[in-house]
Amino acid sequence: MTGQATSTLGAGLGSLFDLPGVYGSFLVTPAGNVAARAIPEILDDATLSEVGGRIIRLGDTFETIGVSPDLCVVRYAEHRLYVKTLPAGVLCIVTGSEISLPALRMAANLVARKVAPEMSRLASPASSQTAVPSAVVPRASSGGFAVPPPPPPPPSSSSTATAAAPTARMYRGRPI
């Protein structure tokens, strides 16, 4: 992932903090990896990755019953998790329970529009082949936005098809 990508994704997520009640947000690739985050450090990358995988599976679950989710709102006792499906990945926003949903919808739409191209690029097989750890912008030690390193390359790089496999999965015409 390039520094420009980091900037694009990070700037997009950062704009969500304009809304009172937004605790944080993160972007998840179709493979379940966290592409960018703007959420307190108390949630480490490993935890977010677990969350990302489950969010993707949640979407897959609804796909099995014929519902192709565009938006999912999960209500907890004192919080909401707002999950918006992007062309390639999902945008997740953690909020308090009193947030203005119309404002959040609009903000999420704007963020989605801004980050969608970069997310699509990240999800493309070509991107996965060129994305190497050295291209990752180091995560800030505190605050700000952090981009975790991409998943390790496949064990065997002898075959291009094999290397592209993790991001080449398609479901109903969309990469997952």
């Binding site: 599976r57 099995t64 519902v67 989710p69 999912c72 209500r75």
Partner: protein, 265 residues
């Protein structure tokens, strides 16, 4: 009914005492049945309204009225202020439709009465799977969609697609009602209580589990509800008091604002 004239009698031919009580509340009688852990159906009449409560092992496991069944019907019956209470022979449900403990039912009924939101706990009874969510604005006299054949056949229906259950958590002071056609109901232990199809019930159970796990990881406790919207429809899942899951599907165009408000979505 000006004077309360409630009757309690044991089933014919089973011995014991029969009683005629005046001034007893229906809630007292329900609690007596539960304490006695009887297995029987009791017809409750309130003027022209009639309902049946099914007791088993100290719980109310099923209820029917002319317009609803399950917990919705139980709440309707428990809202009645006077009438009669007689054991009856009625077709036993194939499976329990009420999972809430009797105490919980009574508490809900008491809350409904205290709030004085409505003169009746009647709620809409949606049609068989796929019924649209509808909102009846203030002033609508009868928000009820009734298909007698449907509810009558439900109790003894053969295995197959289930009918939606009424959802009574959507009334506001205005009296507006929205129907959530319940497509699946899953008990906390995973037992499928009602389901339009098993795949849906499986999906609901798994989605509920995932939502809980996601919340735990993010430090968000107390999964309550979930709304998943596609271009064509919405799936709403919410947790019941006992931890069970209920899900309904409505068209995307349906106005579910009241439902969202109640569920905090």
């Amino acid at each position: 009914m000006a004077s309360e004239d409630l009757a309690l009698a044991d089933e014919p031919g089973t011995g014991g005492f029969s009683a005629r009580l005046q001034g007893a509340s229906l809630w007292d009688l329900v609690q007596m049945e539960c304490l006695a852990r009887t297995h029987r159906a009791v017809r409750v009449t309130n003027g022209a309204q009639t309902g049946v409560l099914f007791f088993d092992a100290g719980r109310v496991i099923h209820a029917e009225t002319a317009l609803a069944f399950g917990e919705t019907a139980a709440m309707e019956i428990l809202s009645w202020q006077s009438g009669s209470f007689d054991p009856c022979q009625s077709a036993w449900p194939r499976s329990p439709t009420i999972t809430t403990a009797t105490e919980g039912l009574l508490l809900k009924a008491a809350q409904g009465r205290d709030e004085g939101r409505r003169s009746s706990n009647l709620v809409a009874f949606p049609g068989r799977g796929g019924a649209l969510a509808t909102v009846n604005g203030p002033g609508s006299e009868s928000p009820l969609l009734v298909d007698d054949k449907d509810w009558e056949s439900e109790v003894t229906r053969p295995a197959g697609p289930s009918i939606g259950l009424g959802f009574d958590a959507n009334r506001r002071d205005s009296g507006a009602v929205i129907d959530l056609p319940i497509a699946a109901r899953v008990a906390p232990n995973g037992t499928i209580i009602e389901a339009v199809d098993d795949d849906l019930a499986d999906a609901v159970a798994y989605a509920g589990r995932l939502a809980g796990l996601i919340g735990e990881l993010l430090g968000l406790e107390g999964f309550r509800a979930l709304e998943c919207a596609s271009k064509d429809e919405r799936v709403v899942i919410y947790t019941e008091e006992d931890g069970g899951l209920v899900a309904g599907r409505v068209p995307a165009a349906a106005d579910v604002s009241i439902l969202r408000e109640r569920l905090g979505l």
